[in-house]
Amino acid sequence: MTDATTTGATAREEKLASANSRRARIMGGVLIALALLVLFTLDVAPGESATFRLTTPRDAVQIGDLVVPGGPFNMIAAALLAFLGVRQFLRGGARWTNISLGIGLAILVMAFLVWATAGKSFSLTGMLQATMVRAVPIALGGLAGVLSERVAVVNIAIEGMLLAGAFTGALVGSLLGGWVGMFAAIAVGGCFGLLLAALVVTYRMDQIIAGVVINLFVLGVTSYVSSQVFAEYRHLNNAPTFRSFKIPILGDIPVIGPMLFNQNLFVYGALILVAVSTYYLFHTKNGLRARAVGEHPRAADTLGIDVYKTRYFHVTLAGMVAGFGGAWFTLGSVGRFDENMTNGRGYIGLAAMIFGRWHPVGALSAALVFGFADSIQQKLALLNTPIPSEFLSMAPYIATIIVVAGLIGRSKPPAANGTPYTKE
């Protein structure tokens, strides 16, 4: 039917018509639009520079400020965006789409910051430090999610476990000191993990219902006790906090030092836990078994792996991680418990887990994106940008949506996620 002359043309059309190429072209268009946006709306008055402070006068090693000439920088940013866009539009392969978009968004954020900061200054190091701090509970929540969803137990209860950890940390911490408080928070988190496991594994309750219910229960109990008891006995809700301590030498490195090596126990704890659980899940015997249970429990069962025990263990572990994360709110931050003080951070942790593709490092990175958006909006609010504060404070949420929609696409959970397993 088709004669020889058109074959070459159709081959090219074939390429263009494939769904991914279409997405690549759309993304190319988006990038070009962003370039125009940077060029026309983020124009900086000539001669104005943005100053990013890298050290504070208190730091041991002093380095100068990062001074960025606004106009030229944003011209270059627009040019880069345009280049990426055109490249993507003309010959974007599937693999390049996400990378280009990631780079594009990063450039956009930088251009925006330079624009907002033109003629002013703020502490870049401080912002990064805050990014880390704000990311901690979310990263730990996400890690808890990873641990339990890797064995195919959906963990909506992270929010409740965080809250329980925060509460226990405050109560026990007030009575017996920070360390005991922290271990108690871990233990209580573990108890709720165990409860979740019992409900979904042994009593085969719907996993989502079980999670929602634990959240309700913890919220109820902690709010009840805090209004019925804490209001009267204030000394029960006055815990010591873990202060930040600088790791010698490393902590003095400019920019990176304050962000990673001059923080409190919880930040170090989160980083270590992420590393340890990555090793555990992907390089140890038990990690392999856990993942097998999450992907194909029946297969694991036929090989003599106890599916129930594995689920109990990991969900309890997840609870302990979340309990530790919860303790951050009280022992690692403000030293006292307040009703519903986690305020949805557990759910955001869940988002971080999905965004991080059920991988501990992914969850941490996602939490950092969120923390970054959160701390950037606080800086922007100080810079007197003409954007209403309500919109600035939406930034972390909008960033999350954009990243999830634009960069991730469909990510795949462990195959058996959410399904109960019945032995005969």
């Binding site: 309750m205 109820g220 988002a351 999905i354 991730i408």
Partner: protein
């Protein structure tokens, strides 16, 4: 071949057999009646234990339970309060349940309710030239529509980019709180002469009239209850009778099969999210048009989150959601009375709600606590 085609009489016989409906067995009865009753009892006992643990004395505990009963079902005004509280819970719960049926775990009812309610307020005061017969339904409709649009954002993102709806609806909730704060200080919406964030009033022609005020003006039950009942019927029809509901359920249960059957996944996701959002928006609209009369920061008061529990408790079935919503409404109304009469914090109600759901959703647990309440299952069957 002919010998394998059974004769007509035989065919009719067999068809009749295939079409005979089995009557509900004892197991259904146990699941639908005995389990919930036990669940409520156990939850109340646990509640009492928690009060004991926090040094509440026995007479106070007794008084609080009496208050809980009296405040929820003990009088006409208690019933009025119970039903009033259940209206938005049921409406939003229906939306969530419908989403669950279509395989969408929508956590966004809170935000959809907020946006829908705000839109209803705006429509209420800006369309006040209309007569009530138009104004009232139109205002409800605007609430539903805006709720639907807000939810459709998450649906659209999932359909086009695969963004997980759990994430996007959580984020949209958080965004909606900020949006509301912002809207409430815009001159167009903020009430004249007020410096605090409060919207203009919903005019009487857009208010859902109180239906029991001929008995007592303080009875707050409003016409939203009819909206609620109509929605229950509509959602039931939609899910189990209509074509689109069939598609919702099929794609919820098995997206591959739905795709095979020519159902358009993207369309269904957006439509199911939109419908869920419309119901949540309607919940917000009835709340502002029937109870609050205006919008102010956080007027949604967590209804959207409680509705998740209601939908789950009602097993995503419209009738189940109706009962679950009324149960939650009763606990809320009773809890208020409990606080007044016995001085026990209303947070206890949250605990009891959670416990009830645990026991209802895990029949196995109730069965193992009350083994004598249930007939023994056949040997070899599930535990």
């Amino acid at each position: 071949m002919t010998d394998k085609r059974p004769d007509l009489k035989d065919v009719n016989e067999r068809m009749r057999g295939l079409l005979a409906r089995t009557t509900h067995g004892r197991d259904d009865f146990e699941d639908l009646v005995i389990v919930p009753v036990f669940a409520v009892i156990v939850a109340l006992i646990f509640g009492a234990l928690i009060m004991l643990a926090t040094a509440v004395d026995l007479p106070t505990i007794g008084r609080s339970f009496v208050a809980l009963a009296v405040g929820s079902v003990g009088s006409l005004s208690a019933w009025s309060e119970t039903l009033t509280a259940s209206i938005p819970l049921v409406l939003a719960g229906l939306g969530l349940g419908l989403g669950f049926r279509a395989g969408l775990f929508n956590i966004g009812a809170e935000g959809q309710l907020l946006m829908g309610g705000l839109a209803a307020v705006v429509a209420g005061f800006s369309l006040d030239f209309l007569p009530m017969v138009l104004h009232l339904p139109l205002t409800l409709l605007v609430g539903a529509l805006v709720g639907a649009l807000y939810a459709a954002i998450a649906g659209f993102l999932k359909a086009t980019t695969g963004a997980h709806e759990v994430i996007s609806t959580i984020m949209l909730n958080l965004i909606s709180f900020r949006l509301l704060d912002w809207f409430l200080r815009q001159p167009f919406i903020q009430r004249e002469g007020r410096s605090d964030p409060i919207s203009k009033d919903v005019p009487p022609s857009a208010e859902l009239p109180r239906i029991l005020d001929f008995i007592d003006v303080n009875l707050r039950l409003h016409a939203g209850i009819f909206v609620m009942l109509a929605a229950v019927a509509l959602v039931y029809w939609m899910l189990f009778r209509s074509k689109i509901g069939f598609a919702f359920r099929a794609s919820g249960e098995n997206p591959d099969a739905a795709n095979y059957a020519g159902m358009k996944a993207a369309f269904i996701i957006v439509l199911a999210m939109g419908t869920a959002g419309a119901l949540a928006g309607l919940a917000g609209a009835t709340q502002v048009q029937g109870v609050l009369g205006r919008a102010s920061p956080g007027f949604s008061a967590g209804i959207g989150f409680d509705a998740i529990a209601v939908a789950l408790l009602g097993r995503s079935h419209p009738v189940g959601i109706l009962f679950a919503g009324i149960l939650f409404g009763a606990l809320e109304a009773g809890g208020r009375q409990m606080q007044v009469d016995a001085g026990v914090s209303i947070d206890l109600i949250g605990i009891i709600q959670a416990l009830i759901i645990i026991f209802i959703a895990a029949p196995l647990l109730v069965r193992s606590i009350f083994p004598w309440g249930f007939r023994k299952r056949r040997k070899g069957g599930e535990a």
